[in-house]
Protein backbone atom coordinates (compact mmCIF):
# COMPACT_ATOMS: atom_id res chain seq x y z
CA UNK A 1 0.00 0.00 0.00
CA UNK A 2 1.47 3.35 -1.04
CA UNK A 3 1.02 6.24 1.42
CA UNK A 4 1.07 9.69 -0.11
CA UNK A 5 0.08 13.31 0.48
CA UNK A 6 -1.23 15.88 -2.02
CA UNK A 7 -1.99 19.45 -1.04
CA UNK A 8 -1.47 23.19 -1.12
CA UNK A 9 -0.16 25.42 1.64
CA UNK A 10 0.89 28.99 2.33
CA UNK A 11 4.23 28.07 0.72
CA UNK A 12 2.68 27.29 -2.67
CA UNK A 13 -0.70 29.03 -2.99
CA UNK A 14 -2.22 32.44 -2.33
CA UNK A 15 -4.82 32.80 0.38
CA UNK A 16 -7.66 33.12 -2.18
CA UNK A 17 -6.80 29.72 -3.64
CA UNK A 18 -6.46 28.11 -0.21
CA UNK A 19 -9.77 29.62 0.86
CA UNK A 20 -11.55 28.16 -2.15
CA UNK A 21 -10.25 24.65 -1.53
CA UNK A 22 -10.86 24.90 2.20
CA UNK A 23 -14.43 26.10 1.59
CA UNK A 24 -15.09 23.14 -0.70
CA UNK A 25 -14.38 21.00 2.39
CA UNK A 26 -14.40 17.61 0.73
CA UNK A 27 -14.82 14.82 3.21
CA UNK A 28 -12.61 11.78 3.56
CA UNK A 29 -15.48 9.59 2.37
CA UNK A 30 -15.90 11.71 -0.75
CA UNK A 31 -12.18 11.58 -1.46
CA UNK A 32 -12.04 7.84 -1.02
CA UNK A 33 -15.03 7.20 -3.24
CA UNK A 34 -14.07 9.73 -5.88
CA UNK A 35 -10.40 8.82 -6.18
CA UNK A 36 -10.51 5.20 -5.22
CA UNK A 37 -8.10 5.47 -2.27
CA UNK A 38 -8.16 2.68 0.28
CA UNK A 39 -7.67 5.21 3.08
CA UNK A 40 -8.05 9.00 3.08
CA UNK A 41 -7.76 11.92 5.47
CA UNK A 42 -8.33 15.63 4.73
CA UNK A 43 -6.42 18.24 6.71
CA UNK A 44 -7.92 21.68 6.01
CA UNK A 45 -6.73 24.75 7.94
CA UNK A 46 -6.40 28.41 7.01
CA UNK A 47 -2.84 27.75 5.82
CA UNK A 48 -3.13 24.37 4.13
CA UNK A 49 -5.47 21.91 2.47
CA UNK A 50 -3.97 18.44 2.24
CA UNK A 51 -5.10 14.92 1.56
CA UNK A 52 -3.22 12.05 3.15
CA UNK A 53 -4.13 8.77 1.51
CA UNK A 54 -3.14 5.16 1.02
CA UNK A 55 -3.83 3.39 -2.25
CA UNK A 56 -2.80 0.17 -3.96
CA UNK A 57 -2.75 1.83 -7.37
CA UNK A 58 -1.24 5.14 -8.54
CA UNK A 59 -3.61 8.11 -8.43
CA UNK A 60 -2.66 11.26 -10.34
CA UNK A 61 -2.14 14.54 -8.46
CA UNK A 62 -4.51 16.31 -10.88
CA UNK A 63 -7.21 13.82 -10.06
CA UNK A 64 -6.82 14.47 -6.33
CA UNK A 65 -6.71 18.25 -6.86
CA UNK A 66 -9.88 18.17 -8.97
CA UNK A 67 -11.65 16.04 -6.40
CA UNK A 68 -10.47 18.24 -3.55
CA UNK A 69 -11.75 21.49 -4.99
CA UNK A 70 -14.53 20.28 -7.27
CA UNK A 71 -14.05 20.36 -11.02
CA UNK A 72 -15.48 23.83 -11.32
CA UNK A 73 -13.07 25.48 -8.92
CA UNK A 74 -9.76 24.14 -10.12
CA UNK A 75 -7.79 25.41 -13.09
CA UNK A 76 -4.66 23.88 -14.68
CA UNK A 77 -2.61 26.72 -13.19
CA UNK A 78 -3.90 25.96 -9.71
CA UNK A 79 -3.10 22.29 -10.13
CA UNK A 80 0.56 23.30 -10.46
CA UNK A 81 0.39 24.74 -6.96
CA UNK A 82 -0.25 21.28 -5.50
CA UNK A 83 2.67 19.35 -4.08
CA UNK A 84 2.92 15.63 -3.70
CA UNK A 85 4.96 13.51 -1.28
CA UNK A 86 5.11 9.74 -1.33
CA UNK A 87 6.17 7.12 1.23
CA UNK A 88 9.01 8.33 3.46
CA UNK A 89 8.79 11.90 2.15
CA UNK A 90 5.09 11.93 2.97
CA UNK A 91 5.99 10.92 6.54
CA UNK A 92 8.67 13.63 6.74
CA UNK A 93 6.20 16.23 5.51
CA UNK A 94 3.51 15.22 8.00
CA UNK A 95 6.00 15.13 10.89
CA UNK A 96 7.11 18.67 9.98
CA UNK A 97 3.51 19.87 9.72
CA UNK A 98 2.44 18.34 13.06
CA UNK A 99 5.52 19.72 14.83
CA UNK A 100 4.78 23.23 13.55
CA UNK A 101 7.98 23.45 11.45
CA UNK A 102 6.02 23.97 8.25
CA UNK A 103 3.69 26.59 9.76
CA UNK A 104 3.58 30.26 8.83
CA UNK A 105 4.39 31.08 12.47
CA UNK A 106 7.07 28.50 13.19
CA UNK A 107 6.37 26.47 16.32
CA UNK A 108 2.68 27.33 16.62
CA UNK A 109 0.84 24.54 18.40
CA UNK A 110 -2.62 24.95 16.93
CA UNK A 111 -1.69 22.80 13.93
CA UNK A 112 -1.16 19.74 16.12
CA UNK A 113 -4.70 20.06 17.47
CA UNK A 114 -6.04 20.50 13.95
CA UNK A 115 -4.13 17.42 12.78
CA UNK A 116 -5.48 15.39 15.68
CA UNK A 117 -9.02 16.54 14.90
CA UNK A 118 -8.62 15.64 11.23
CA UNK A 119 -7.36 12.20 12.22
CA UNK A 120 -10.26 11.73 14.66
CA UNK A 121 -12.76 12.66 11.94
CA UNK A 122 -11.19 10.22 9.50
CA UNK A 123 -11.32 7.43 12.08
CA UNK A 124 -14.93 8.25 12.82
CA UNK A 125 -15.74 8.17 9.12
CA UNK A 126 -13.91 4.86 8.82
CA UNK A 127 -11.49 6.16 6.18
CA UNK A 128 -8.31 5.97 8.28
CA UNK A 129 -7.00 2.41 8.29
CA UNK A 130 -3.75 0.82 9.53
CA UNK A 131 -1.45 2.76 7.18
CA UNK A 132 -2.70 6.21 8.18
CA UNK A 133 -3.03 5.14 11.79
CA UNK A 134 0.68 4.25 11.98
CA UNK A 135 1.66 7.40 10.14
CA UNK A 136 -0.40 9.77 12.27
CA UNK A 137 0.31 8.15 15.64
CA UNK A 138 4.00 8.47 14.83
CA UNK A 139 3.46 12.10 13.77
CA UNK A 140 1.80 12.95 17.11
CA UNK A 141 4.72 11.45 19.00
CA UNK A 142 7.25 13.30 16.86
CA UNK A 143 5.41 16.60 17.45
CA UNK A 144 5.40 15.99 21.20
CA UNK A 145 9.12 15.24 21.20
CA UNK A 146 9.96 18.31 19.14
CA UNK A 147 7.94 20.47 21.51
CA UNK A 148 9.43 19.01 24.66
CA UNK A 149 13.06 18.70 23.52
CA UNK A 150 13.47 22.02 21.75
CA UNK A 151 12.46 25.63 22.40
CA UNK A 152 10.43 25.74 19.18
CA UNK A 153 7.27 26.90 21.00
CA UNK A 154 8.97 29.25 23.46
CA UNK A 155 8.05 32.91 23.64
CA UNK A 156 5.10 34.80 22.21
CA UNK A 157 5.27 35.97 18.60
CA UNK A 158 2.50 38.56 18.36
CA UNK A 159 1.97 41.86 20.18
CA UNK A 160 -1.15 40.55 21.96
CA UNK A 161 0.45 37.31 23.11
CA UNK A 162 3.64 39.08 24.24
CA UNK A 163 1.46 41.39 26.35
CA UNK A 164 -0.31 38.40 27.89
CA UNK A 165 2.98 36.59 28.57
CA UNK A 166 4.41 39.65 30.33
CA UNK A 167 1.20 40.20 32.29
CA UNK A 168 1.36 36.61 33.56
CA UNK A 169 4.96 37.15 34.66
CA UNK A 170 4.03 40.33 36.51
CA UNK A 171 0.75 39.23 38.08
CA UNK A 172 0.84 35.43 38.07
CA UNK A 173 -2.83 34.63 37.74
CA UNK A 174 -4.72 37.13 35.57
CA UNK A 175 -8.13 36.27 37.04
CA UNK A 176 -9.73 39.25 38.78
CA UNK A 177 -7.21 41.66 37.27
CA UNK A 178 -8.56 44.98 36.05
CA UNK A 179 -7.58 46.54 32.74
CA UNK A 180 -8.27 49.90 31.18
CA UNK A 181 -8.23 50.29 27.39
CA UNK A 182 -7.52 53.87 26.41
CA UNK A 183 -8.48 54.54 22.79
CA UNK A 184 -10.35 52.18 20.54
CA UNK A 185 -7.73 51.02 18.05
CA UNK A 186 -7.56 47.61 16.41
CA UNK A 187 -4.35 46.49 18.16
CA UNK A 188 -5.65 47.54 21.57
CA UNK A 189 -8.83 45.56 20.88
CA UNK A 190 -6.79 42.47 20.00
CA UNK A 191 -4.65 42.93 23.10
CA UNK A 192 -7.73 43.41 25.29
CA UNK A 193 -9.26 40.26 23.83
CA UNK A 194 -6.07 38.30 24.49
CA UNK A 195 -6.06 39.47 28.12
CA UNK A 196 -9.76 38.66 28.52
CA UNK A 197 -9.14 35.18 27.11
CA UNK A 198 -6.56 34.68 29.88
CA UNK A 199 -8.84 35.62 32.74
CA UNK A 200 -9.01 39.43 32.93
CA UNK A 201 -12.67 39.96 33.81
CA UNK A 202 -12.84 43.69 34.55
CA UNK A 203 -12.21 45.54 31.26
CA UNK A 204 -12.87 49.25 31.06
CA UNK A 205 -12.77 51.21 27.81
CA UNK A 206 -12.27 54.94 27.62
CA UNK A 207 -12.29 56.80 24.32
CA UNK A 208 -12.69 60.44 23.24
CA UNK A 209 -15.79 59.35 21.37
CA UNK A 210 -17.88 57.70 24.05
CA UNK A 211 -19.94 55.82 21.44
CA UNK A 212 -16.86 54.20 19.89
CA UNK A 213 -15.66 53.33 23.38
CA UNK A 214 -19.06 51.84 24.13
CA UNK A 215 -18.88 49.77 20.91
CA UNK A 216 -15.47 48.40 21.80
CA UNK A 217 -16.56 47.72 25.38
CA UNK A 218 -19.50 45.71 24.06
CA UNK A 219 -17.25 43.74 21.72
CA UNK A 220 -14.71 42.79 24.41
CA UNK A 221 -17.22 42.29 27.20
CA UNK A 222 -16.18 45.37 29.18
CA UNK A 223 -17.75 48.66 30.22
CA UNK A 224 -17.24 52.17 28.84
CA UNK A 225 -15.80 54.94 30.99
CA UNK A 226 -16.11 58.64 29.98
CA UNK A 227 -12.78 59.95 28.68
CA UNK A 228 -12.74 62.69 31.34
CA UNK A 229 -12.63 60.00 34.04
CA UNK A 230 -9.82 57.76 32.77
CA UNK A 231 -7.23 59.10 35.22
CA UNK A 232 -9.44 58.21 38.16
CA UNK A 233 -9.24 54.55 37.17
CA UNK A 234 -5.56 54.37 38.12
CA UNK A 235 -6.24 53.57 41.75
CA UNK A 236 -8.08 50.42 40.65
CA UNK A 237 -6.54 49.06 37.51
CA UNK A 238 -3.62 46.67 37.07
CA UNK A 239 -3.14 46.93 33.32
CA UNK A 240 -3.38 49.93 30.98
CA UNK A 241 -3.55 49.49 27.21
CA UNK A 242 -3.16 52.86 25.54
CA UNK A 243 -3.60 53.60 21.84
CA UNK A 244 -5.01 57.09 21.43
CA UNK A 245 -4.01 59.46 18.65
CA UNK A 246 -2.96 62.20 21.08
CA UNK A 247 0.08 64.09 19.82
CA UNK A 248 1.69 64.45 23.25
CA UNK A 249 2.05 62.14 26.27
CA UNK A 250 -1.18 61.65 28.17
CA UNK A 251 0.62 60.24 31.18
CA UNK A 252 3.91 61.39 32.70
CA UNK A 253 5.94 60.20 35.68
CA UNK A 254 4.96 63.34 37.61
CA UNK A 255 1.26 62.53 37.12
CA UNK A 256 1.61 58.88 38.06
CA UNK A 257 4.09 59.23 40.93
CA UNK A 258 1.57 60.19 43.68
CA UNK A 259 -0.71 57.30 42.73
CA UNK A 260 2.22 54.92 42.33
CA UNK A 261 3.26 55.34 45.98
CA UNK A 262 -0.26 54.32 47.06
CA UNK A 263 0.02 51.10 45.09
CA UNK A 264 3.11 49.73 46.91
CA UNK A 265 2.11 46.13 46.47
CA UNK A 266 0.26 46.30 43.21
CA UNK A 267 2.35 46.49 40.07
CA UNK A 268 1.06 48.45 37.09
CA UNK A 269 1.60 47.07 33.60
CA UNK A 270 1.32 49.67 30.85
CA UNK A 271 1.11 48.68 27.19
CA UNK A 272 1.56 51.76 25.01
CA UNK A 273 0.62 50.85 21.46
CA UNK A 274 0.18 54.43 20.25
CA UNK A 275 2.51 56.16 17.77
CA UNK A 276 3.46 58.80 18.81
CA UNK A 277 3.55 57.33 22.29
CA UNK A 278 0.86 58.16 24.85
CA UNK A 279 3.01 57.47 27.88
CA UNK A 280 6.24 59.30 28.72
CA UNK A 281 9.15 56.79 28.78
CA UNK A 282 10.33 57.88 32.25
CA UNK A 283 7.16 56.32 33.71
CA UNK A 284 9.06 53.01 33.46
CA UNK A 285 11.48 54.32 36.11
CA UNK A 286 8.74 54.33 38.77
CA UNK A 287 8.86 51.39 41.16
CA UNK A 288 6.33 48.69 40.35
CA UNK A 289 5.52 50.17 36.94
CA UNK A 290 6.36 48.17 33.80
CA UNK A 291 5.98 50.17 30.60
CA UNK A 292 6.18 48.54 27.17
CA UNK A 293 5.70 50.50 23.95
CA UNK A 294 4.92 49.02 20.54
CA UNK A 295 8.62 48.81 19.61
CA UNK A 296 9.49 46.86 22.76
CA UNK A 297 6.62 44.43 22.22
CA UNK A 298 7.48 43.94 18.56
CA UNK A 299 11.15 43.45 19.39
CA UNK A 300 10.30 40.73 21.91
CA UNK A 301 7.96 39.06 19.41
CA UNK A 302 10.67 39.19 16.72
CA UNK A 303 13.27 37.77 19.13
CA UNK A 304 10.95 34.89 19.99
CA UNK A 305 10.35 34.18 16.32
CA UNK A 306 14.09 34.27 15.60
CA UNK A 307 14.68 31.94 18.56
CA UNK A 308 12.05 29.57 17.18
CA UNK A 309 13.72 29.62 13.76
CA UNK A 310 17.04 28.74 15.41
CA UNK A 311 15.33 25.69 16.82
CA UNK A 312 14.22 24.41 13.43
CA UNK A 313 17.50 22.50 12.93
CA UNK A 314 17.07 20.74 16.29
CA UNK A 315 13.49 19.85 15.33
CA UNK A 316 14.61 18.55 11.94
CA UNK A 317 17.12 16.24 13.65
CA UNK A 318 14.40 14.66 15.75
CA UNK A 319 12.22 14.30 12.67
CA UNK A 320 15.08 12.73 10.68
CA UNK A 321 15.47 10.01 13.35
CA UNK A 322 11.79 9.16 13.14
CA UNK A 323 11.77 9.30 9.35
CA UNK A 324 14.58 6.73 9.15
CA UNK A 325 12.78 4.46 11.62
CA UNK A 326 9.63 4.85 9.55
CA UNK A 327 11.58 4.12 6.35
CA UNK A 328 12.88 0.91 7.92
CA UNK A 329 9.36 0.02 8.89
CA UNK A 330 8.22 0.51 5.30
CA UNK A 331 11.11 -1.68 4.15
CA UNK A 332 10.38 -4.27 6.87
CA UNK A 333 13.75 -3.85 8.70
CA UNK A 334 14.51 -4.75 12.34
CA UNK A 335 13.86 -1.27 13.71
CA UNK A 336 10.84 -1.09 11.52
CA UNK A 337 9.48 -4.31 12.96
CA UNK A 338 10.02 -2.99 16.47
CA UNK A 339 8.23 0.16 15.42
CA UNK A 340 5.39 -1.86 13.94
CA UNK A 341 5.07 -3.93 17.12
CA UNK A 342 5.04 -0.77 19.18
CA UNK A 343 2.38 0.74 16.96
CA UNK A 344 0.26 -2.39 17.20
CA UNK A 345 0.29 -2.02 20.97
CA UNK A 346 -0.86 1.59 20.81
CA UNK A 347 -4.59 2.19 21.14
CA UNK A 348 -6.35 3.30 18.00
CA UNK A 349 -8.11 6.23 19.67
CA UNK A 350 -6.44 9.60 19.31
CA UNK A 351 -4.72 11.31 22.23
CA UNK A 352 -6.79 13.95 24.05
CA UNK A 353 -6.22 17.53 22.94
CA UNK A 354 -4.51 20.06 25.15
CA UNK A 355 -6.39 23.33 25.66
CA UNK A 356 -3.82 25.08 23.49
CA UNK A 357 -4.48 22.67 20.65
CA UNK A 358 -8.24 22.74 20.61
Amino acid sequence: MNVFCVGISHHTAEVEVRERYAAASRTEVFMRERCGCAEALVLATCNRVEVYAAAAQAIATDEIARSLGGNESSSPAEADEFYRYEGVECARHLFRVAAGLDSMVVGETEILGQTKKAYAQAREAGTAGPSLHRLFQRAFRVAKQVRSRTDITRGAVSVGSVAVELAVKIFGDLANRKALVLGAGETSERTARALAAHGVTDLRVSNRSFERGQDLANRVGGRAVPFAEWKEQFRDIDILISSTSAGEPLLTAAMLSPISSERADRPLFIIDIAVPRDIAPEVNELEGVYLYDIDSLQTIAAQSLAQRRHQIAAGEEIIAEHVSAFAEFLEGGKTGRRHAEMMEREPLSEAPLRPSES
Binding site: V168, K169, I170, G172, D265, P267, E287, Y290, I300, Q303
Partner: protein, 264 residues
Protein backbone atom coordinates in the same frame (compact mmCIF):
# COMPACT_ATOMS: atom_id res chain seq x y z
CA UNK B 1 37.60 9.25 53.70
CA UNK B 2 35.02 11.75 55.00
CA UNK B 3 36.73 14.65 53.20
CA UNK B 4 36.71 12.60 49.99
CA UNK B 5 32.93 12.30 50.27
CA UNK B 6 32.75 16.05 50.67
CA UNK B 7 35.02 16.56 47.69
CA UNK B 8 32.78 14.35 45.54
CA UNK B 9 29.74 16.25 46.79
CA UNK B 10 31.39 19.56 45.85
CA UNK B 11 32.15 18.16 42.38
CA UNK B 12 28.45 17.27 41.95
CA UNK B 13 27.43 20.84 42.76
CA UNK B 14 30.18 22.16 40.51
CA UNK B 15 28.91 20.07 37.58
CA UNK B 16 25.39 21.45 38.20
CA UNK B 17 26.77 25.02 38.24
CA UNK B 18 28.81 24.57 35.05
CA UNK B 19 25.91 23.01 33.20
CA UNK B 20 23.53 25.80 34.29
CA UNK B 21 26.03 28.48 33.22
CA UNK B 22 26.59 26.83 29.82
CA UNK B 23 22.93 26.50 28.98
CA UNK B 24 22.14 30.00 30.22
CA UNK B 25 24.92 31.36 28.00
CA UNK B 26 23.65 29.31 25.08
CA UNK B 27 20.25 30.95 25.58
CA UNK B 28 18.45 27.62 25.84
CA UNK B 29 17.87 27.37 29.56
CA UNK B 30 15.22 24.89 30.62
CA UNK B 31 15.01 23.24 34.03
CA UNK B 32 15.70 19.56 33.75
CA UNK B 33 16.22 16.53 35.94
CA UNK B 34 19.99 16.68 35.60
CA UNK B 35 20.52 19.63 37.94
CA UNK B 36 18.05 18.23 40.44
CA UNK B 37 19.81 14.84 40.38
CA UNK B 38 23.18 16.51 40.88
CA UNK B 39 21.83 18.34 43.94
CA UNK B 40 20.33 15.08 45.28
CA UNK B 41 23.63 13.25 44.78
CA UNK B 42 25.60 16.12 46.31
CA UNK B 43 23.23 16.14 49.28
CA UNK B 44 23.57 12.37 49.77
CA UNK B 45 27.36 12.66 49.82
CA UNK B 46 27.18 15.62 52.25
CA UNK B 47 24.93 13.54 54.50
CA UNK B 48 27.48 10.71 54.34
CA UNK B 49 30.26 13.11 55.34
CA UNK B 50 28.29 14.60 58.26
CA UNK B 51 27.23 11.15 59.42
CA UNK B 52 30.84 9.87 59.48
CA UNK B 53 32.04 13.03 61.24
CA UNK B 54 29.20 12.77 63.76
CA UNK B 55 30.09 9.14 64.58
CA UNK B 56 33.76 10.01 64.95
CA UNK B 57 32.99 12.96 67.26
CA UNK B 58 30.15 11.26 69.11
CA UNK B 59 28.00 14.37 68.66
CA UNK B 60 26.51 16.70 66.08
CA UNK B 61 29.41 17.74 63.79
CA UNK B 62 29.47 21.45 64.58
CA UNK B 63 32.71 21.66 66.48
CA UNK B 64 34.73 23.94 64.19
CA UNK B 65 34.30 26.48 61.41
CA UNK B 66 34.78 23.84 58.69
CA UNK B 67 31.96 21.68 60.04
CA UNK B 68 29.74 24.73 60.55
CA UNK B 69 30.09 25.67 56.89
CA UNK B 70 29.51 22.13 55.66
CA UNK B 71 26.44 21.86 57.90
CA UNK B 72 25.25 25.19 56.51
CA UNK B 73 25.70 23.96 52.92
CA UNK B 74 23.86 20.74 53.83
CA UNK B 75 20.99 22.78 55.37
CA UNK B 76 20.66 24.87 52.22
CA UNK B 77 20.41 21.72 50.08
CA UNK B 78 17.98 20.16 52.58
CA UNK B 79 15.62 23.14 52.54
CA UNK B 80 15.86 23.29 48.74
CA UNK B 81 14.93 19.62 48.41
CA UNK B 82 12.04 20.06 50.86
CA UNK B 83 10.75 23.41 49.69
CA UNK B 84 11.79 23.78 46.04
CA UNK B 85 9.45 21.18 44.55
CA UNK B 86 6.61 22.24 46.89
CA UNK B 87 6.67 25.77 45.58
CA UNK B 88 7.31 24.50 42.05
CA UNK B 89 10.59 26.35 42.05
CA UNK B 90 12.52 23.67 40.20
CA UNK B 91 14.64 26.38 38.66
CA UNK B 92 15.93 27.13 42.15
CA UNK B 93 18.35 24.24 41.70
CA UNK B 94 20.27 26.27 39.16
CA UNK B 95 20.50 29.13 41.65
CA UNK B 96 20.99 27.00 44.79
CA UNK B 97 23.85 24.87 43.46
CA UNK B 98 26.24 27.86 43.17
CA UNK B 99 25.54 28.92 46.77
CA UNK B 100 26.17 25.42 48.13
CA UNK B 101 29.21 24.94 45.92
CA UNK B 102 30.71 28.25 47.02
CA UNK B 103 30.23 27.56 50.74
CA UNK B 104 31.68 24.05 50.45
CA UNK B 105 34.60 25.09 48.28
CA UNK B 106 35.55 27.80 50.76
CA UNK B 107 35.27 25.27 53.60
CA UNK B 108 37.50 22.79 51.75
CA UNK B 109 40.13 25.31 50.68
CA UNK B 110 40.45 27.35 53.89
CA UNK B 111 42.59 25.89 56.69
CA UNK B 112 39.70 25.80 59.11
CA UNK B 113 39.25 22.07 59.72
CA UNK B 114 41.01 22.29 63.06
CA UNK B 115 39.96 19.74 65.73
CA UNK B 116 38.43 21.45 68.74
CA UNK B 117 40.92 21.44 71.61
CA UNK B 118 38.18 21.26 74.20
CA UNK B 119 35.93 18.23 73.85
CA UNK B 120 32.64 19.08 75.48
CA UNK B 121 30.40 16.26 76.68
CA UNK B 122 27.28 15.62 74.58
CA UNK B 123 24.65 18.23 75.41
CA UNK B 124 21.23 17.78 73.75
CA UNK B 125 20.27 21.46 74.23
CA UNK B 126 23.54 22.65 72.73
CA UNK B 127 23.20 20.31 69.77
CA UNK B 128 19.58 21.32 69.24
CA UNK B 129 20.55 24.98 69.45
CA UNK B 130 23.36 24.62 66.93
CA UNK B 131 21.61 22.36 64.44
CA UNK B 132 18.27 24.20 64.40
CA UNK B 133 20.09 27.51 63.94
CA UNK B 134 21.98 26.05 60.98
CA UNK B 135 18.75 24.79 59.38
CA UNK B 136 17.31 28.29 59.90
CA UNK B 137 20.30 29.59 57.99
CA UNK B 138 19.39 27.11 55.25
CA UNK B 139 15.93 28.68 54.97
CA UNK B 140 17.43 32.17 54.94
CA UNK B 141 19.81 31.03 52.20
CA UNK B 142 16.88 29.84 50.10
CA UNK B 143 15.12 33.18 50.69
CA UNK B 144 18.36 34.76 49.43
CA UNK B 145 18.24 32.53 46.33
CA UNK B 146 14.57 33.35 45.70
CA UNK B 147 15.43 37.04 46.22
CA UNK B 148 18.11 36.81 43.52
CA UNK B 149 15.63 35.11 41.18
CA UNK B 150 13.07 37.85 41.90
CA UNK B 151 15.52 40.66 41.21
CA UNK B 152 16.84 38.99 38.03
CA UNK B 153 13.32 38.72 36.65
CA UNK B 154 12.29 42.18 37.79
CA UNK B 155 15.37 43.65 36.14
CA UNK B 156 14.62 41.86 32.86
CA UNK B 157 11.02 43.10 32.95
CA UNK B 158 12.17 46.66 33.54
CA UNK B 159 14.88 46.68 30.89
CA UNK B 160 12.86 44.66 28.35
CA UNK B 161 15.85 42.35 27.81
CA UNK B 162 14.28 38.96 28.22
CA UNK B 163 16.91 36.21 28.44
CA UNK B 164 16.05 32.54 27.97
CA UNK B 165 16.03 32.11 31.76
CA UNK B 166 13.18 34.63 31.97
CA UNK B 167 10.78 32.15 30.40
CA UNK B 168 11.60 29.53 33.04
CA UNK B 169 11.31 31.76 36.10
CA UNK B 170 8.08 31.57 38.10
CA UNK B 171 5.90 34.72 37.97
CA UNK B 172 6.93 37.51 40.38
CA UNK B 173 4.01 36.95 42.82
CA UNK B 174 4.85 33.23 43.11
CA UNK B 175 8.48 34.03 43.80
CA UNK B 176 7.53 36.62 46.36
CA UNK B 177 5.20 34.17 48.11
CA UNK B 178 8.13 31.73 48.33
CA UNK B 179 10.40 34.45 49.75
CA UNK B 180 7.85 35.35 52.43
CA UNK B 181 7.27 31.73 53.47
CA UNK B 182 10.99 30.99 53.58
CA UNK B 183 11.56 34.07 55.70
CA UNK B 184 8.88 33.00 58.16
CA UNK B 185 10.21 29.44 58.24
CA UNK B 186 13.77 30.63 58.81
CA UNK B 187 12.66 33.15 61.41
CA UNK B 188 10.67 30.56 63.39
CA UNK B 189 13.58 28.10 63.34
CA UNK B 190 16.09 30.81 64.23
CA UNK B 191 13.93 31.98 67.14
CA UNK B 192 13.76 28.40 68.42
CA UNK B 193 17.54 28.11 68.04
CA UNK B 194 18.10 31.41 69.81
CA UNK B 195 15.78 30.54 72.70
CA UNK B 196 17.30 27.07 73.14
CA UNK B 197 20.72 28.69 73.50
CA UNK B 198 19.70 29.87 76.96
CA UNK B 199 19.06 26.29 78.09
CA UNK B 200 22.44 24.85 77.16
CA UNK B 201 23.91 25.46 80.60
CA UNK B 202 26.98 26.95 78.92
CA UNK B 203 28.32 30.46 79.58
CA UNK B 204 26.99 32.83 76.89
CA UNK B 205 29.61 35.20 75.43
CA UNK B 206 28.10 38.69 75.22
CA UNK B 207 29.35 39.33 71.65
CA UNK B 208 27.80 36.08 70.43
CA UNK B 209 24.45 36.89 72.06
CA UNK B 210 24.54 40.45 70.66
CA UNK B 211 25.32 39.27 67.13
CA UNK B 212 22.67 36.54 67.24
CA UNK B 213 20.07 39.08 68.37
CA UNK B 214 21.19 41.54 65.69
CA UNK B 215 20.52 38.92 62.99
CA UNK B 216 17.19 38.05 64.62
CA UNK B 217 16.22 41.74 64.74
CA UNK B 218 17.21 42.27 61.09
CA UNK B 219 14.91 39.49 59.92
CA UNK B 220 12.19 40.59 62.36
CA UNK B 221 12.38 44.11 60.89
CA UNK B 222 12.01 42.76 57.34
CA UNK B 223 8.99 40.67 58.30
CA UNK B 224 7.47 43.53 60.28
CA UNK B 225 7.98 45.96 57.41
CA UNK B 226 6.38 43.49 55.07
CA UNK B 227 3.51 42.83 57.45
CA UNK B 228 2.75 46.56 57.59
CA UNK B 229 3.16 46.80 53.79
CA UNK B 230 5.88 49.39 54.29
CA UNK B 231 8.30 47.34 52.21
CA UNK B 232 7.58 46.67 48.55
CA UNK B 233 8.32 43.14 47.27
CA UNK B 234 11.43 44.32 45.43
CA UNK B 235 12.84 45.83 48.64
CA UNK B 236 12.11 42.63 50.56
CA UNK B 237 13.92 40.60 47.89
CA UNK B 238 16.93 42.93 48.08
CA UNK B 239 16.92 42.88 51.90
CA UNK B 240 16.90 39.05 51.88
CA UNK B 241 20.19 39.20 50.03
CA UNK B 242 21.68 41.79 52.39
CA UNK B 243 20.41 40.01 55.51
CA UNK B 244 21.77 36.60 54.53
CA UNK B 245 25.13 38.03 53.55
CA UNK B 246 25.28 39.80 56.93
CA UNK B 247 24.11 36.69 58.80
CA UNK B 248 26.78 34.48 57.19
CA UNK B 249 29.45 37.08 57.95
CA UNK B 250 28.32 37.17 61.57
CA UNK B 251 28.26 33.37 61.73
CA UNK B 252 31.78 33.21 60.34
CA UNK B 253 32.97 35.91 62.75
CA UNK B 254 31.46 34.30 65.82
CA UNK B 255 32.66 30.78 64.99
CA UNK B 256 36.11 31.95 63.96
CA UNK B 257 36.52 33.96 67.16
CA UNK B 258 35.28 31.06 69.29
CA UNK B 259 37.65 28.63 67.51
CA UNK B 260 40.64 30.90 67.99
CA UNK B 261 39.90 31.59 71.64
CA UNK B 262 39.56 27.84 72.35
CA UNK B 263 42.90 27.21 70.63
CA UNK B 264 44.57 29.87 72.75
Amino acid sequence: MDRQLLLLSTICYFVAVVRAVLIVRAGTFRPGRFNFLMVVLGFALQTGFLSMRGHALGRCPLTNLFEVFVFLAWSVALIYLLVGPTYRLSLMGAFTAPVVWLIQTLALLAPIDVPASLRLPANPWLEFHASISMIAYGAFALAFVAGVMYLVQERQLKTHHLHSIFYQLPPLPDLFAAITRLLWLGFALYTAGLASGFFTGQPLPLVKVFCAFAVWLFYAAILHGRHLRRLAPKRVAALCIVAFTAAVSVLWGITFAAQNSSLR
